[in-house]
């Protein structure tokens, strides 16, 4: 809401020295968000005067028509001689009164005026348009042509009220009444402790039977409808400068006198109004819900198909307006031909929810709907109608019809019971009853009672419904800045949960291993799932879709972290960082199948349900909460890494090494270590991964094995499609399940101080045998004496080992808890280990 300071002063006698910034500070302290104070005409300097065009000479031979004029500016130029001015506008004639800026003046934007040669003539100044004077668009598409009564030589800065300050206030949804001068003036008066001249306090004649006929069929949607008629309007009458200027400063464009007046009264009182051309309304004006499918062409020229919930204004032919939102084209005031001489003024009060829904349904937000949605003072309607009638009589030469129509659904003002000490309890401040009562009276409440106050809230404060609303009024007027600071004493907390600790630990561990965290958007499209080689029936193709995505290319929520991470990898690579290790932990989303706890795993499960809307006047039952949760997508937390380029750099210390599949698998092992989970790594094959270099990651939860992810090098085809560096590697796993499989607390090992017995073995197996299986066999065969086992060499040589064979060299460390092992004992354990590997994996001891 834009509030010109000069206009505001009409209702509150602010000290003359008070600047816009001073008022801004005061209003902020009582809770109005004054965002800016615009200084209109701050850099403007005269002479800027009224002139009269004496002669016009058309200059030919230029790209556009140019006029050389002489203009009488009186004594403003010091000589009284006609001023010679070159002008490009064409909307004026000899004899017109115009606004002339003379050499030496400065126009808004620091535009200094001097005599200068242009189009072969010397132009001593300029004939001004409203844009050049910083007045905003007036729709004239040319220079300002004043009405004839203004005298030549008059100072136009004052005439056009070019110097002013405008407060721009972001009105919060609860303060609908501040979408008016009246409301802001009231807050200003309170903030300054000054009286308010309420513009709604007008003498209004009571309703009678001769007013324009109105029938309200839906008193809930419209609890008040005032209609007044003005006849004998001068269709030639134009809005006076003061009216146009106030509208412009408040951010509205002057249109025609009748429309300007209704807008002006809306700005002043906050009451949206509508003026119908009486000649174009047929019969009784009605208010009712629309019939589904009814059509209405609104003032903006759009033909709208109405919904049965839309509240409409009708005449005998059907809808002539969307109540509280926008009028219809058929009964529009004619502002082009100027034929309207009689108008019916509507000042009505419509239900906020009804207006909000209609505005939203038709994507049609107007000045009127904005106000009705936020609450309009229902008692201002008759005053607003009266004000409109008065202005039409005054400015358009009309005659007020004696008929006054008022349809009012009876309603009682709202009262709230407020313990007098309640504001004190909310604030933690001892205001006392007297202060509470005084502050509530200042905002317009009637207050009765002692310890228990009965507060009747003013009609313009539909936002005040609860005791806490009243407490806020008291506290804000007493000043939030005066609140003391105390600290509550929470009970001792339990600190971070194990899960929260784990998430932090994982972040640190991955960062410690050289990974940089990226937080990517979760939006994906089907294309990326294709590019990742996901099979047609892959559960990760079942996505949660948004109704209103930012991009139609990416309408769904991620089921895997890879699209985001690979995007970040590509972005970094493109910006010249080629050696990359990135990680992310975050939620992925799977539509939940009804009756199934596991999303994604059962793609063909039963129909999922929509979330129910629960009441808010009580705690929902556990069953209701469960039903709500059941409608939400599954949102497990995943962890993923991607790698490209060098994992270790080449430098003076020697050669580096590229990131490879093993780094990706190691990242999974690192997470498993942090979680305290035994991770099963085996050969796998899935979507985007290289079929020969993909590890499947699994854990055991409650005795059942569960695959939680994959790690390894990505498929070269996928890399090519995604424009990623060759040999890019990745790992992704379900962190929640990994955590579930965790062993919990570490059990301390018993440390033997007896000497270690080391035995090395080299085993030859088929090249396809997984080393993990060989190791498992060795472990099992070695028995309890085995302290540790480590694979220290893998060797393939067709000549020595035979084709398709490989040698695995292990260092076995044996130790007993209670004695020094003999060589024979250690050898026996080693032999037992080799035997099991031999039986199970066909391993042969290398000679």
């Amino acid at each position: 809401m834009r509030i010109p300071l000069s206009w505001l002063r009409e209702y509150v006698d602010l000290p003359a020295t008070e600047t816009g910034r001073d008022v801004q500070d005061k209003l902020i302290s009582v809770g109005l968000e004054v965002e800016t104070v615009e200084q209109l005409g701050a850099d403007l300097k005269g002479p800027l005067v009224v002139g009269q065009v004496l002669t016009i000479e058309e200059l030919d031979g230029f790209k556009k028509p140019i006029r050389f004029c002489t203009v009488d500016v009186g004594r403003a130029n010091g000589t009284g001689e006609p001023q010679e001015i070159v002008c490009g506008a064409r909307n004026f004639e000899v004899g017109d009164k115009v606004v002339v800026v003379l050499p030496g003046a400065v126009l808004p934007g620091g535009f200094a005026i001097s005599a200068r040669k242009t189009y072969g003539k010397v132009s001593h100044g300029m004939i001004c348009s409203s844009d050049e004077l910083g007045m905003g668009d007036d729709g004239s598409k040319g220079i300002i042509v004043l009405t004839p009564e203004h005298e030549v030589g008059t100072d136009a800065i004052e005439l056009l009220q070019l110097v002013d300050e405008v407060l721009d206030i972001a009105v919060t949804p609860d303060r609908g009444y501040c979408l008016s001068l009246r409301g802001v003036a009231r807050e200003t008066a309170i903030a300054y402790g000054l009286p308010l001249r309420d513009p709604a306090l007008l003498d209004v004649p009571g309703p009678n039977a001769f007013g324009y006929p109105v029938q309200v069929a839906d008193p809930f949607g419209c609890d008040r409808f005032t209609a007044r008629t003005v006849t004998g309007l001068d269709p030639e009458a134009r809005s006076p400068i003061w009216l146009r200027r106030r509208l412009q400063k408040a951010g509205m464009r002057p249109i025609s006198l009748a429309v300007d007046i209704t807008n002006y009264v809306m700005l002043e009182l906050g009451q949206p109004l509508h003026a119908y051309d009486r000649a174009r309304v047929q019969g009784t004006i009605g208010v009712r819900r629309a019939t589904a499918g009814e059509k209405l062409t609104t003032l903006d020229g759009v033909t709208r198909t109405l919904d049965a919930e839309d509240l409409v204004i009708t005449d005998d032919r059907g809808p002539i307006g969307l109540a509280g939102v926008m009028g219809g084209a058929t009964t529009e005031i004619d502002d082009t031909d100027g034929t309207t001489t009689e108008v019916v003024v509507e000042a009505a009060h419509f239900d906020a929810v009804s207006v909000a829904r209609t505005a939203r349904r038709h994507k049609l937000s107007s000045e009127a709907s904005r106000r009705f949605e936020r609450g309009v003072d229902p008692r201002a309607a008759s005053a607003a109608a009266q004000r409109t009638v008065d202005l039409l009589v005054l400015l358009a030469g009309g005659t007020a019809d004696a008929g006054v129509t008022e349809v009012i659904a009876p309603s009682a003002p709202r009262t709230i019971t407020l313990p007098a000490a309640h504001p004190d309890r909310v604030a933690g401040v001892d205001y006392g009853r007297e202060t509470v009562v005084r502050r509530l009276q200042e905002i317009g409440c009637d207050v009765y009672g002692q310890d228990e106050l009965i507060v009747t809230v003013p009609s313009w404060r539909s936002d005040l419904t609860d005791p806490n609303d009243l407490a806020e009024e008291v506290i804000r007027l007493e000043g939030y800045e005066n609140l003391p600071a105390t600290l509550p004493k929470p009970p001792a907390g339990l600190g971070l949960t194990e899960r929260q600790r784990l998430h932090r630990r994982i972040g640190r561990a991955l960062a410690g291993a050289g990974y940089v965290e990226a937080l990517n958007y979760p939006f994906i499209g089907e294309q990326i799932l294709d590019q990742l080689n996901l099979a047609a029936d892959d559960p990760n193709r079942r996505v949660v879709t948004l109704v209103n995505p930012l991009s139609d290319e990416e309408p769904a929520l991620r089921t895997t972290l890879l699209p985001g991470l690979l995007g970040a990898l590509r972005r970094n690579d493109g910006r010249g960082s080629h050696d990359l290790a990135l990680f992310e932990t975050g939620l992925v989303f799977h539509p939940r199948a009804a009756g199934s706890g596991e999303a994604g795993e059962t793609p063909a499960a039963a129909e999922p349900t929509a979330a129910v809307r629960l009441p808010v006047d009580r705690r929902p039952t556990d069953a209701e909460i469960a039903a709500l949760t059941e409608a939400l997508p599954e949102q497990p937390r995943h962890a993923a890494v991607v790698l490209a380029g060098a994992r270790e750099q080449t430098g003076w210390w020697g050669t580096g090494r590229p990131a490879d599949w093993a780094d990706a698998v190691e990242a999974a092992r690192l997470l498993a270590r942090e979680t305290g989970t035994e991770l099963l790594v085996r050969k796998g094959q899935y979507g985007p991964w290289h079929p020969g270099r993909c590890a499947e990651l699994a854990v055991v939860v409650d005795g059942a094995e569960q695959v939680i992810g994959y790690a390894g090098e990505l498929h070269p085809g996928v890399l090519k499609k995604l424009g990623l560096p060759p040999r890019t590697c990745a790992m992704e796993l379900n962190l929640d399940v990994l955590e579930q499989a965790g062993a919990g607390l570490v059990t301390s090992p018993r440390i033997s101080t007896f000497p270690v017995a080391t035995q090395d073995v080299a085993l030859v197996v088929d090249a396809g045998v997984p080393s993990a299986d060989v190791e498992a066999a060795l472990r099992e065969g070695a028995g309890e004496l085995l302290e540790s086992i480590r694979l220290f060499d893998v060797y393939e040589n067709a000549e020595q080992l035979g084709a398709g064979r490989k040698s695995l060299a292990y260092a076995l460390r044996f130790r007993a808890a209670d004695r020094t092992l003999t060589v024979d004992e250690a050898s026996a354990a080693r032999d037992a280990a080799v035997n099991v590997a031999g039986e199970r994996m066909g391993a042969v001891l290398r000679g």
């Binding site: 929260q500 965290e517 975050g586 929509a610 270790e648």
Partner: protein, 374 residues
């Protein structure tokens, strides 16, 4: 070793004269002193203390002396050999020390060589900022609560006193999740527009009193630009207990900014409107850079607060009793306060981040300098 000389002949024991012994000793000492390396010293050692050295030979001659002369000659030779061995040991020590020092010099390296064998990793500053803020409250006894990002509208709006047609509901540009039946069906599921639904979950799940802090990711339908991102992070605090007041809210906010920005920090409250708090306030913190001294002081402008002296932080207020009712908490008995603010914003003014996109794009050059903690 030759046999003792039985035939006494004083002329033949010229070598045992005192001046001869002294000469041998002096020659040995001179040779050791002249040795400039351990090898040279070894040669001198062999020459002057070895079995063929003059002193060794002289020693051997002692046996040939008459018994009355033996003692004196023996003493003389013994003293000389003692002095020689001592000098040898001393010189040996000196040369070894020199060698050791030289080896250390030779082994010296260029310690300024760079080492980026495995470049350092880092956590995202948004993550560590959320942890940092959370920890302020965890240390006061609050616990961290979490909730889903795809959330039921009831939790995100209704329970927080956003009525279905309230303008405030339209102001939070919401991503709606498609219902099971496709486009037009209302699923009642959205991407949470703030971390406040976690308040509701906490009040439903936990025993009173409740003191929680909820960091997390939230969504609004803003296009990404220098100051907006559709996916961002908030942290939210909720305290519900008997007798909590707005003064408690103010004190808690002051404590937070002191913990994060220094002991001389404070906050300011300005009236505002949120459906889920009443009274509601906008909270500002004193500019931690200029401490407000740039206000009205054009000579010392402050970029961080645009010379406003205060930095807008977020929203707060007393929990609306209607929210308590919807969560089954008796508003007659309990009251509470809550606040929330954007982590991106705090990161921007705390660490001079100029463009929101830097926090979104995952460029390692942006993230690395923030390290493990913030």
């Amino acid at each position: 070793m030759s046999a003792p000389n039985k035939s006494y002949d004083p002329v033949e024991v010229e070598t045992l004269k005192p001046e001869e012994i002294e000469r041998m000793r002096d020659e040995a000492l001179a040779a050791f002193a002249a040795a400039d390396s351990l090898d040279a010293l070894h040669e001198a050692k062999v020459a002057h203390t070895g079995p063929a050295s003059p002193l060794a030979l002289a020693n051997r001659e002692i046996g040939a002396l008459p018994p009355q002369a033996k003692a004196e000659a023996g003493k003389r030779v013994g003293q000389a050999r003692g002095a020689v061995n001592k000098a040898l040991g001393g010189r040996q020590g000196e040369l070894e020390a020199e060698r050791d020092a030289r080896v250390l010099v030779e082994e010296s390296v260029d310690v300024t060589l760079p080492y980026d064998r495995v470049p350092a990793g880092a956590r995202h500053p948004l993550t560590t900022m959320m942890e940092r803020v959370s920890d302020v409250f965890v240390s006061m006894g609050y616990e961290i609560a979490e909730g889903p990002e795809a959330e039921a509208e009831w939790f995100n709006f209704d329970a927080l006193n956003f009525t279905p047609d309230h303008p405030a509901r339209q102001m939070q540009d919401t991503f709606f999740v498609q219902g099971p039946a496709g486009d037009d069906a209302e699923s009642g599921v959205i991407l949470r527009t703030h971390t406040s639904p976690v308040q509701v979950r906490a009040l439903l799940d936990r025993e009173l009193p409740v003191y929680i802090v909820c960091p997390g990711r939230v969504y609004r339908t803003d296009e990404l630009d220098a100051t907006h991102t559709p996916v961002f992070h908030q942290i939210e605090l909720l305290a519900v207990d008997e007798g909590l007041t707005m003064a408690d809210l103010k004190g808690t906010l002051d404590h937070m900014v002191r913990s994060l920005f220094g002991a001389d920090m404070k906050t300011r409250l300005r009236p505002n409107y949120f459906p889920f708090t009443e009274p509601s306030a906008e909270m500002d913190m004193l500019c931690y850079v200029c401490k407000g001294e740039s206000v009205g002081n054009p000579d010392r402008p402050c970029r961080t607060c645009s010379s406003e002296g205060w930095i807008e932080l977020g929203g707060c207020g007393m929990v609306n009793p209607r929210v308590l009712t919807a969560c089954g908490v008796d508003p007659e008995k309990y009251s509470g306060f809550a606040f929330g603010f954007g982590i991106e914003r705090m990161l921007m003014f705390r660490h001079n981040v100029e463009d929101m996109r830097d926090m979104v794009e995952g460029d390692v050059r942006f993230t690395r300098p923030f390290g493990m903690e913030i």
